[in-house]
Amino acid sequence: MKAFTQLTGTAAALLEKGKPMSNIDTDMIIPKQFLKTTERTGLSKGLFYELKTLADGSPNPDFVLNKPEFAKAGILIAGENFGCGSSREHAPWALADQGISVIIAPSFADIFHNNCYKNGILPVRLPVDVCETLAKQAGGANHVFIVDLESQSVTAPDGEVYKFDVDPGRKSNLIQGLDEIGASLQAEADISDFEKTRKLATPWLEPAR
């Protein structure tokens, strides 16, 4: 998997009535018509498709990522329960394809949260009021944030530093860009032993064929 260590860059905030928008679901992040691909790349075209386009398919000038000063933002700021709904990994693929590698929100849905780590995206949990403060500072070009995984900190454009929690195992895997499958296959002996025991303990789970 792709590594993440540090990002220095601009942020875009997804707002509803001036506050970070809550319950952004994975259908909103990437709608169904973009799930027919057999590739992991090129999905930014579908990212936030219904928010970023008008009904006729033309760009919505009011959508944050369509504004030139936010088009290259590497950080997204949103509200509670980001990534709820479908397990589609196309959501983090589309975000990564857009160049977003950090999402800051008060909370994340479980499956999306997991999928982020598999794709070099760092989901940062910070309290609601901090997310609001950071969203206000997401002003485009000269408003640079620093997100550092090693020190578990976000430095806002005004110089304020916010610490965040992260699971130590996930942190080390993400910093290394660990090949998780390769690492798990190192446990081959354990897996084989488990299978032998399983065959004896729950023989009915072995298919007849």
Binding site: K17, P31, K32, A55, C84, S86, D167, G169, I181, W204
Partner: protein, 465 residues
Amino acid sequence: MAGKTLYDKIWDAHVVHTDAASGESLLYIDLHLIHEVTTPQAFAGLKAAGRTVRRPDLTLATPDHNTPTENQAAGLAGVKDPEARNQLETLMRNVADAGIEIFPMGDIRNGIVHVIGPEQGRTQPGMTIVCGDSHTSTHGAFGALAHGIGTSEVEHVLATQTLRARKMQNMAIEVSGRLAPGVTAKDLALHIIAKIGTAGGTGCVMEYRGEAIRALTMEGRMTLCNLSIEGGARAGLVAPDETTFAYMKGRPSAPKGGAWDVAESYWRTLFTDEDAVFDHVVEIRGEDVEPTVTWGTSPEMGIPLSGIIPKPEDFADPVKAAACERALAYMGLEGGKPIAGTPVQRVFIGSCTNSRIEDLRAAAEVAKGGKVAEGVRAMVVPGSGLVRAQAEEEGLDAIFLEAGFEWREPGCSMCLGMNPDILAPGERCASTSNRNFEGRQGRGGRTHLMSPALAARAAIHGVIG
């Protein structure tokens, strides 16, 4: 030492090893269900790394998300959308290469992945089951630990038959008493989600407990567990009991003869110990649950059928007020008005939530002798070829067709609209599916979630009610 919850027991029985430093475990997976949308990149990843599928015999494939619900006899050649066809062909190729069993489109055993597992007896108590689909929680109805995973995890399971996992918390949903007549598992699920919110179960496995749960049929339990993810919990569980065993017995992949007896004695150990402690407990009185429908764009935006659509000012939390305002605008509804009487143009009866035989029977009972209201287009999409055949044997197809419903072939269909079954902008749909998100059933489409009986009523009356 406190006793174990059902989740604790299944977890402990499947841990291959735990890395002390990271706290991450390798969890053995007993059944991996796969479909065409979330697997092509996983198979490509395996191939690129020179890896193979470790246990094709513990993997089962079914195409469902993209499949058209008409003319399936024409096979893949009949799939008009070239991208959908490519994805379906890719699945066929991948499973053939890996030696994985598949129920291809047109096979009577084909259908929605969460319908066919239980139907075939593949889903069994105490198992770990994963699938690249969030509604894998459905299988928890059998007392199996079942949840959705991403495509990277699909690749991991294909290669290792294990999942890297961290133990989740235990949440009990205690439903006392009985549901009133006419109140279904769908109403109960929407009631629970309205109470706890779509993030209420985040980080948890939900175990549904109590008298009202024991009284549910297996299909009701599947509907309930299916919607666990809409309450934020990756997995839902119901401890197996006589209802479970009676449902399973004789199914094609259920154990037979002496093997059944051995299995059953193990299954009977799968319950939460009396002295086990839950991290969270939610209590619900079965009698308090009314027929429930959603008015907004999140499954938590549910109210009783007799209820009033909320107004933004009803919410003290400004974020919730803003969400209400946005949802009302999207749904084209006015707060303060009753939800009953809202006109619909479309009706969808189907999805992994509500497309089983009992669901179709409930809808047919309402539809019998009636006519779909003018200006309404109503579709019934059975969950599998076998459900469809059973319904036809019972004459339900004739009831639906006579009433003016379309009688379709199995698949996920308009639940997510990956196939041609979608809403037009502004169309309002009474739907038995699981998500009412903006654009879920088609851009600008307006979805109201409800039970099969209520959806059938909406078809006949032309309004919710």
